[in-house]
Amino acid sequence: MFSEQNIAAVLFYVFAIIAAASALGVVISRNIVHTAVALLGALLGVAGLYFLLQAEFLAAVQLIVYAGGTLILIIFGVMLTSKSPFSRFEPKRIEVVAASGVAVVLAATLGLSIHRVAGKLAAVNIPTSRIYPIDQLGLALLGDYLVPFEIVSVLLLVVMIGAAYLAKGRRR
C-alpha cells in the first residue's frame, strides 16, 4: 500500500494540484497582489515537482532565486506602481473570447501531441540508491557548458547595469 511508488504518486498529485490551481488563480484573480500570491503557489508546486524528479539542486535554486528573488522583485514592482489613477484592469469581453479561443486551440494541439508521445518513454521506477548529482552538475556547468555559463555571467552584468540605468530615469 505505502510502497515508494505510491508515495511518489501521491506527492506528485499534491504538488501538481498546487501548481495547477495556483496557475489558474494567476489567470482568474483581478487583484494584482492576489495574482502575485498565486504565482508564489505555482512556483512552490513546481519546486516540489523538481524534488520528485530528483533535481534537488534545481528545486533549491527554484526556491531561492524564483520564490526568494524574482517574486520579491515583482512584488516590489507592484507596490511601487500601484497608486495609479487608472487602476481598473478589466479585460474587454471580446478579449476574453479571443483569448479563450486561442487557449482551447492550444490545449487541443498540445494534448494531441502529448497523447502521441505518451508511452514512448515508459514510466520508470525511482532507483533507491543513487549518487547525488550535484558534483556532476558542477562538472557539466564548467565543462561542456562553459561557454553558455560565461555568456550568462556577462549577460547578468549587462542586465545589472542596464536595469540600474533604466530605473534611475530622468530626474528633473
Binding site: 502575485a36 512556483l43 524528479l53 524564483y66 556547468l141 557548458y145 530622468r170
Partner: protein
C-alpha cells in the same frame, strides 16, 4: 505502462507534460487578459516555469537514474532558464518603473508612446 492507460499510481512522463501544458496555457491566458504590465510579466514567468517542468521531466525520464555530466542537459538548461527569467524580470521592472515615473500608469492599453 502504455500511454494514458495503466494504473493511476504510475506517474509517467505524460503526467508532467500535461501539467506543463496546463501551466503554459494559464501563462498565455494571463498574458492575453491582463492589462497591468506586471501581470503580463507574471504570465511570462508561468510560461518559463512550464518549459522548465518539461525540460526536467524529459531529462529524468530519458536517462532514468543516471547522473553523469553529459546526461544532465535538461537540468542545466533549466538553470539557464531560471537565470534568464530573473534577468528579464529585472529589466522589465526597470522599464515599468521608468514608464510609471513618466506617465503615472502601467496599463498596457495606455502605453502607446512607442507606437509608430
Amino acid at each position: 505502462m502504455n500511454g494514458f492507460s495503466g494504473n493511476i499510481m504510475a506517474i509517467g512522463l505524460e503526467h508532467y507534460l500535461l501539467l506543463g501544458m496546463l501551466m503554459f496555457i494559464c501563462g498565455l491566458l494571463t498574458i492575453m487578459l491582463k492589462r497591468n504590465a506586471i501581470g503580463i510579466l507574471m504570465g511570462v514567468e508561468l510560461i518559463l516555469n512550464a518549459a522548465n517542468v518539461n525540460l526536467v521531466a524529459f531529462n529524468h525520464f530519458a536517462y532514468p537514474g543516471q547522473a553523469s555530466a553529459v546526461l544532465l542537459g535538461g537540468q542545466i538548461f533549466a538553470i539557464f532558464v531560471i537565470v534568464l527569467a530573473a534577468a528579464e524580470a529585472a529589466v522589465a521592472l526597470a522599464i515599468f518603473l521608468n514608464y510609471y515615473n513618466n506617465f503615472s500608469t502601467i496599463d498596457v492599453e495606455r502605453a502607446q508612446n512607442l507606437k509608430g
